[in-house]
């Protein structure tokens, strides 16, 4: 897809009984990510998610998407992000792909949170993102395929969509 495309392809469960899901594509920029997350708030209830699951998904997606904007692509470079989320019974599975540079060492960063019981001037102002991601997801994987980064994560959901 062209990097400036901002289309959104919504696909609810089709006639063949596919799991309810949706797809989005948007430019890798902080404003576009913000707009995508706002749109996501409208889409996730259709997959049967309720608060606080929507909030949890939003935190994880915000961190992964902003990470792409800030680190995968060079500053000022144009690029795109594709996102697909699918409801699978008691899980939400999301796949994010981008055409930016690979993760350092071809792996996802470990979580680590600097100490917070320290003097005010020593408090951490960063390093929260991967910590939040790894605290909240049930599964997380990374692959580099055909020049793209593909990150997939799963979140446990409280109840099946049919009962939601």
């Amino acid at each position: 897809m062209p990097p400036d495309a901002a289309d959104c392809v919504e696909v609810d469960g089709d006639a063949e009984g596919a799991a309810p899901h949706f797809r989005m594509a948007f430019p890798a920029g902080s404003e576009a990510v913000r707009q995508a997350l706002l749109r996501l708030r409208g889409e996730l209830p259709r997959l049967g998610l309720a608060e606080p699951e929507i909030g949890t998904a939003e935190i994880v997606l915000a961190e992964l998407l902003n990470n792409i904007v800030e680190h995968a692509y060079d500053p000022g470079a144009e690029g795109g992000i594709e996102l697909e989320c699918e409801r699978r019974k008691t899980r939400l599975v999301c796949t994010i792909s981008d055409g930016g540079g690979p993760m350092p060492g071809d792996r996802l960063p470990e979580k680590g949170l600097a100490a917070t019981d320290v003097a005010r001037q020593d408090l951490p102002e960063g390093g929260f993102g991967w910590f939040l991601i790894r605290e909240l997801v049930e599964e997380l994987s990374y692959a580099r395929q055909d020049g793209k980064n593909i990150v997939r994560f799963g979140l446990g959901l409280g109840r099946p969509a049919s009962e939601a």
Binding site: I59, A62, F128
Partner: protein, 114 residues
């Protein structure tokens, strides 16, 4: 980034008018907080009742806003949404900032920042 401050009997009240403190406004937030809090003393209450989302960049900016205060000042947070509350709890920043459920509660208490 909409931030407004008013002098109150209990200290300075800073109200966030936006619904998100995220990567796209984090630097603005930090700079605007510096402007609003410069030359003040005592408690600063940050009213987050209109904010429904804070990401890691926004959290970093709130921590930065604390670090740029005078040593005897406190930065206290008021009216966190469930999602915002979760971000503070998971990162243990709920132990760093005094957190109040309502402005009324905050204005009545003299929070211990320790």
């Amino acid at each position: 980034m909409k931030l407004e401050s008013t002098e109150q009997p209990f200290g300075l009240l800073v109200t966030v008018g936006d619904s998100r403190i995220d990567a796209s406004v984090a630097i603005q937030f930090k700079d605007r907080m510096r402007e609003l809090t410069a030359g003040t003393s005592g408690r600063i209450l940050l009213d987050l009742s209109k904010v429904d989302f804070v990401d890691s960049s926004g959290l970093g900016a709130i921590v930065a806003a604390l670090k740029q205060l005078e040593a005897d000042q406190t930065l206290e947070l008021v009216a966190l949404s469930p999602t915002v509350s979760k971000v503070f709890r998971l990162t243990r920043m709920d132990k760093v900032f005094p957190i109040h459920e309502t402005l009324q509660q905050a204005s009545g208490s003299c929070a211990d920042a320790s």
